[in-house]
Amino acid sequence: MDAWRLSEAVSLRAEAFGGMAFHRERGVTLEVDAEAYRFLCTCLQPRPLPLPGEPPARLVPQLAHLGFLVQAEADLEQAQAALDITWLGDGFTLSAPETVHLAITARCNLSCPGCYVPPFDVRGELTTAELRGLIDQWAAMHVFQLAVGGGEPLLREDLFDVLAYARERGIVPNLTTNGLLLDSGVIRRLERAGVARVNLSWNGIPSQSKGGPGDGQQRQGRSIAQALRVLLDSALQVGINLLVTPSLLPHLGQVLARLRTLGVRWVTILRPKPPAAPSEISRAWYEANRLRRADLLRLRDVLSAWQGVLHLEVDSALAGLMGHAEPAILRWRGVYGCAAGRRICTVWPDGSVTPCSFLADLSAGNARHTSFAELWERGKNWEVLRDPTARPQGGCAGCDIALQCGGARCVARYECGDLFGGDAECPHCREAVSA
């Protein structure tokens, strides 16, 4: 009889609802109930498939299709299950982040007016040793992915060592960069470090003016086109982070066509968001670039036209664009809307830990002084984000996808001074109201 086992590329982690399984090569995350999690744990050792009629048998076709179960060969080392987790979360908040967003440096070679990174003293940035220590802690908690950004992360000399160490410890490293420093040598080093995906940030159309911020964008646009040619020849998965502003929106179709011509398959659409502590300049930038309801509806039309041509993703602040879908189907597909402080968090260059990059003032503490697990479990200042009753009672009350979307917390706070004040521009909310 054939023996099967869990793929070596799968990480397991117990959770309050059962457990999670992450396929590090395919980037697929499963949430399963307690029985299914027990079955996955038994598959750490080669075993015959369950007989037809046995409850686990129903899971096998899907697990095999997704690459989580593979035919066993003798004497292979087995993946490690996370059987040693002490705090399981509560189901709404996970036992550990799925992804830690690491702003590895605040230094940058661009000065985009809408940048969300607060000022940091670069002399106080986490050292290589401190970062390795943090990665050890994340590995112990079975964090699945590390999303490294900045600032511009390629300005950090030890970046490749940090990325490689994360991969060595079983965490999938991904990188977001403005692309200005990418060349074939850098790309080879990223490959060797085990980076899964590189996202290039592209912040809009080239400006008409020279010498101002738009000049940097023009420079970046040229640089991205050059970097893309090399990147697309590499083993790395390549995506574009496209910040869609009202001025870009009329040209979005052209931009997507251009990206497709260059060979890009993955585009992540980002919505402009207000920084946590807006300065006069960043507030003016946000007011000029925020997407209104009409913009969001237009964006949905463009996405609809391009779906199937490119693989389009949206950030969590745009989950309301999926409002036509059944809530149960959104849940099945792992759509959670704003996951700040519940499924993700951001670690800043100085070690402070916040729920996400746009709630940078809600620090749970500093990982230099307190263990990361303790900061995550305690979640000081994040309590309201972790309250499962808050979404259905706030500004999104009555919305049929409140639990799958819930609006963007940072937008709600900017609008209403309340983290659960609702999203004034949400197209689904207005549709629901008018219906």
Binding site: D33, P55, L66, W266, Q307
Partner: protein, 212 residues
């Protein structure tokens, strides 16, 4: 069985969600409409006006990805324009809408069997002079092909043509089977009346829901 009745000790074993991060997710949503009788000229004109499609007894709409879906009023309208059954699939979630002439007596008998478990279950709504019965079920990957043949849309439509006849004959065992699978009751007072033995269609459906 996936039933969630309080007090039961049934073992569930489920994948709760699947999230694709760096693999393309080629999933889609499909809607197929079946008319058991030929459409009248008025119905044909209505279908043409609504959808722009040439009216046929079997209409199919397919949407890729997240951003486009069937206009929200089409299912109800098409189910009053001569189509009797709509079978839809989206990310392994299968649903059947069955359109019947509005019959207050039958509706009253059916209402006790309405049930919902995470989007699976049975419900009914009135739409004009029709009542539309909704049957939702999440099936495991590929299971619909095992259970309903090479074309699960056709297979499910055939099964529910049988269900329609059974309901007209007063046999409510198919909705009882939905309750058996997806109902959740706190006490006996709210528990709907059992229907036994199960009709052939109800038995087939229950077998699929239990095993997939």
């Amino acid at each position: 069985m996936r039933g969630n009745k309080s007090g039961d000790q049934e073992v569930t074993i489920r994948i709760l969600s699947i999230q694709h991060n760096f693999e393309a997710d080629h999933s889609s949503s499909s809607y197929e409409f079946f008319a058991l009788d030929k459409l009248t000229p008025e119905q044909r004109a209505g279908v043409q006006d609504l959808t722009g499609e040439s009216p046929r007894r079997h209409l199919r709409f397919h949407y890729m990805g997240d951003w486009r879906d069937i206009p929200s009023d089409w299912p109800d309208k098409l189910l009053t324009l001569g189509y009797d059954i709509m079978v839809s699939e989206s990310y392994d979630w299968w649903a059947v809408h069955l359109s019947l002439p509005h019959d207050p007596e039958l509706m009253g008998r059916l209402q006790q069997y309405e049930c919902d478990s995470d989007g699976n279950g049975f419900r009914l709504e009135v739409s004009g002079d029709r009542m539309v019965l909704y049957f939702g079920m999440q099936l495991d990957y590929g299971a619909a092909y095992d259970a309903f043949g090479e074309d699960p849309f056709e297979g499910l439509a055939d099964l529910f043509e049988g269900v329609r006849s059974e309901l007209f004959a007063g046999d409510l065992s198919v909705v009882w089977a939905m309750c058996e699978t997806y109902g959740g009751y706190e006490d006996e007072e709210t528990e709907p009346e059992p229907v036994e033995p199960l009709s052939p269609s109800a038995g087939a459906l229950l077998n699929v829901m239990e095993n997939y």
